[in-house]
Symmetry: D2
Subunit: 344 residues, 4 copies
Amino acid sequence: MFLFQCDYNEGAHPKIMERLVETNMEQTVGYGEDAYCQRAADKIREACGREDLAVHFLVGGTQTNMTVIDAALRSHQGVLCAVTGHINVHETGAVESCGHKVLGLPSEDGKITAAQVERAYLEHKHNDSFEHMVQPKLVYISNPTELGTIYSKAELRELYTVCQKYDLYLFMDGARLGYGLAAPDNDLTLSDIAGFTDVFYIGGTKVGALFGEAVVISSDALKEDFRYLIKQKGGMLAKGRLLGLQFDALFTDKLYFEISAHAVDLAERLRGAFREKGYEFVAPNHTNQIFVVMPDRHLARLKENFGFCYDHQVDDTNSVVRFCTSWATKEEGVEALIQAVEEL
Amino acid sequence: MFLFQCDYNEGAHPKIMERLVETNMEQTVGYGEDAYCQRAADKIREACGREDLAVHFLVGGTQTNMTVIDAALRSHQGVLCAVTGHINVHETGAVESCGHKVLGLPSEDGKITAAQVERAYLEHKHNDSFEHMVQPKLVYISNPTELGTIYSKAELRELYTVCQKYDLYLFMDGARLGYGLAAPDNDLTLSDIAGFTDVFYIGGTKVGALFGEAVVISSDALKEDFRYLIKQKGGMLAKGRLLGLQFDALFTDKLYFEISAHAVDLAERLRGAFREKGYEFVAPNHTNQIFVVMPDRHLARLKENFGFCYDHQVDDTNSVVRFCTSWATKEEGVEALIQAVEEL
Amino acid sequence: MFLFQCDYNEGAHPKIMERLVETNMEQTVGYGEDAYCQRAADKIREACGREDLAVHFLVGGTQTNMTVIDAALRSHQGVLCAVTGHINVHETGAVESCGHKVLGLPSEDGKITAAQVERAYLEHKHNDSFEHMVQPKLVYISNPTELGTIYSKAELRELYTVCQKYDLYLFMDGARLGYGLAAPDNDLTLSDIAGFTDVFYIGGTKVGALFGEAVVISSDALKEDFRYLIKQKGGMLAKGRLLGLQFDALFTDKLYFEISAHAVDLAERLRGAFREKGYEFVAPNHTNQIFVVMPDRHLARLKENFGFCYDHQVDDTNSVVRFCTSWATKEEGVEALIQAVEEL
Amino acid sequence: MFLFQCDYNEGAHPKIMERLVETNMEQTVGYGEDAYCQRAADKIREACGREDLAVHFLVGGTQTNMTVIDAALRSHQGVLCAVTGHINVHETGAVESCGHKVLGLPSEDGKITAAQVERAYLEHKHNDSFEHMVQPKLVYISNPTELGTIYSKAELRELYTVCQKYDLYLFMDGARLGYGLAAPDNDLTLSDIAGFTDVFYIGGTKVGALFGEAVVISSDALKEDFRYLIKQKGGMLAKGRLLGLQFDALFTDKLYFEISAHAVDLAERLRGAFREKGYEFVAPNHTNQIFVVMPDRHLARLKENFGFCYDHQVDDTNSVVRFCTSWATKEEGVEALIQAVEEL
């Protein structure tokens, strides 16, 4: 049985486990103020090519999203994002639990455009009842999106330009950032992202770590008192060094990029097999998530030996399902799946 | 100049002002525990034909909505409502500020159906990631809706049946309830509404009072500790008797129904004039709000002598606007407007 | 029976009722954007001697407190106030419901000092775990306090100086402000208060109005988007002119000050009678609230003809009770009470 | 240099690291629904001697406290706890950020009594303004407390009896539970605790795990939908098995109890040395935290080779400091410290 339903089925990259074991009995101070966190933050700043960035380590994605968003907004302000955005669908209302409305924008492929943001902002501003409506103040995007698609440098720059123009924050959820950066059609670098957002995070949980997300803040306003919010939202790990150690390992010898490329490479091979078979893709992309329409009878057969994720029923006989690869996916699993697909 | 843009342009019905003046220097206890509130509550219970109803008086609509909804929900639960619902659009995120997500359902005419609610409930319940999503627990409807349409007895009964089936609360926002009950095509009574909802309110602000909304609760669970929530949300008026006095007056000699009928009658006459002229209605209805598509050049002329409310631009030369009548609308104003329309 | 238990037993000053009746059928725009609100705001600015103040009208005190405080604070920030502060005791956790901790400072007489604020601020700042604690950011005082005491100009200036030094907001709850300004030992003016706070409010509910509190903001940061917060917290009255009309009347011909002086004058007479009798005062003051220790058997006799408010039992045979006068208190009631006290 | 400032200076017990490494590349489902979590939950139920307990695994203490408390309370309800309680002091207002007031009860030693809880409950219930005050609904205790003291079985039973009588929840924060159970003067078992609380948690972070807290719920009302709240508050670890694996190891062969006893044993030896020297203890106890008053000049000398935690200055020349032992403390460190103390 090979599991492809998500990118967090395994533990951590062996190099990370090694470091955790090696340092296990060392004594360090807590709450992320140790030398390992310092070092990891330095490496991330270096990878982004900027020394002025604040870097913080949190445990998980939902926690990170709510912490960043709550740090950025006053009570009457809300978040613009794709209706498919993780914060709008799969976080049990964490953003609302902090008091903020998520303002969904229509999206077919998980992305939103600068034009959509501008329109939403102006519609609010020029509405006669503007004070009776939630004020858009932060734009949330994910890259790759929940559908695996990615933003181009031009798209991100345009989004950021609109945000700057209207004094909106731009926040990128990078839970799967590695897989986006590794996509063959990607033209963004970490440095671009640091330059074209106010805050973003580099996902560890889904890209090689046991857990952990590295928040990178360029906006001075957002930097202020950020650790208070990490603590309040439950994200300040007592043994914070565990996060520092993991990101230190991931940003040593480009491990983060290398393992991301591995996942994307295997996904591309899988994608090829699906394409050959004539299946159609939903929100076609070149990252580690494959959304594909398949006949239910084929799925029934695959299910015997492979794990994948049902998304929704398309019609009486077909469904959209998701196959994920990750840093941990083994070639043999992919080979087996490709062969099984060919035999359908 | 005659204003038709909303139904809260004037003060209160003269009989209410009279009562306020008469009782002005009386001494009563505060916070709604006086005899006037008691009496008004009794009259409302009588009008609903049930003695087991809890009746509370709050000051305004947004406040009432957030108080009821926050009283009903645990943190992970949300509100199903039409995307056009007042709580979803025009309350500056008051529901979210209490921590709850508003789950919008598509709607053309401001209404939602029992089938929509059932589908939303079941989709949540059967979703693999259900715990990662906000749990629907309360259904919010407004009657009349924000577009002036109303629910039939059959529709409301079906909604309530679905809610009962799945242990959902049904809450009716009756900010304009009088105008709905007075509509010629209405077949609901207060007694029906009390029977087919868990909680609803009878709007005073837009129907004859200076301000005030009477919340009527039939659900035992919602009755518990409700006054604590009124206080916390800022809705417990120190001189609570002002609310009691107003609703007492409104529910004496059927004043509430009589003044509502006046507004609807005038709206129907206006509607006739628009129809004659060949204008099309948006969400056609027979309550006190008229949403009508008119050429911008016609609107420009009307604007000189009449107030109305722009809703949105339809195309290059036409807009949807809203005309409202109310308990206070004068026949002469309506006559003048009809004549002006005929002359367009 | 004469009621002395609070200062909101009656309706409104006759001049206010007159204005409400006179203007009742006028048509105005809603939500506080009418000419009456404009005019009242102008008069208040004039009374404060400053043109740069933002003035907003809300309905009640709890609502006003939560709106101002939520407007001022980020999520990790809290409010310093006396443990006896209204927000800490009698608002059903309204401030906490907005997500903010109330940080109580010890107080015997309802007041806090500049030194206490400074100490609390510095203790937080220099604590090793400062990020694990709520950051003090706003100082809430009430004047008169919940115990009827008032701040001197020197005390207020010192508080403001400390707040300015540490970038804290200073907010004065003036629910009973008139009665404080009218106290014989008061040396503060509205202009001083506007100068030595960031935001304060002038209470109407307890000083002559049916309801209503006028928020006066001098801090530019707090002015921004304040109306959004009024709406979100349920304080934006549809018929906002009712608030404007009332404050317009109160600030015409110094009515607010005159009726406050009336209440204080009667309270002083009452106080004299209690003093003569040898009763001791709790938190002695010269405003409209008298907290006095009396034997329970005396209270039992008074109770037959007079309303007052039990505060707490002191020992087996004595209790602290509160007597309030107000703008509406009649001399005959006070005379009757004085006579009854003398006969005890 | 030996660090004694807290009980989270190291990683995890070697047996835990072993298990994490062994299982690292296994594929499991996420979010705590894997077999390891199941097994750990079973072992905890067994250790508590009850099959009806719900067991959930969260990442950290602040997160756990806010999740449990928010799951238990309606908006107008608050938490009774010692003023020294962790939720009242060191969680940056996490409970308030969920909308709930923390109602502090005076405490010298970190504990509260059944009598205090009863008095607070009754004072609220019988207060004339009870609806204007936060309703106490949950009692939070920590065991050991923040000062290292513990509850006896009789004390806990009394607390629970009062809670049951007044329909209050009793919640025990067991961040350091192991060290309490291992104290020589302890007479509580896990089974007692499960029987005399509605919910409690078994701390992993400070007792052998990398991180993790096991929430044990006996109250049926609290069991309902608890996972939704874990998710919303950011505590649902994607690779939930990491938590299951750790608690599985801790509850295999009584490891949790054994390593706790190790820490307590070393603390007792340290305590002996302090006592011999004539230092006084604050909140004397027999768990792993030692609060001791020492001359500043002695502390200055110790500081060169030992880490400890300043609590507060007592007078001009003495301070209260905290020394902690833990599962990871080495005998050689304790020996060195004892010798250093003897030489002061």
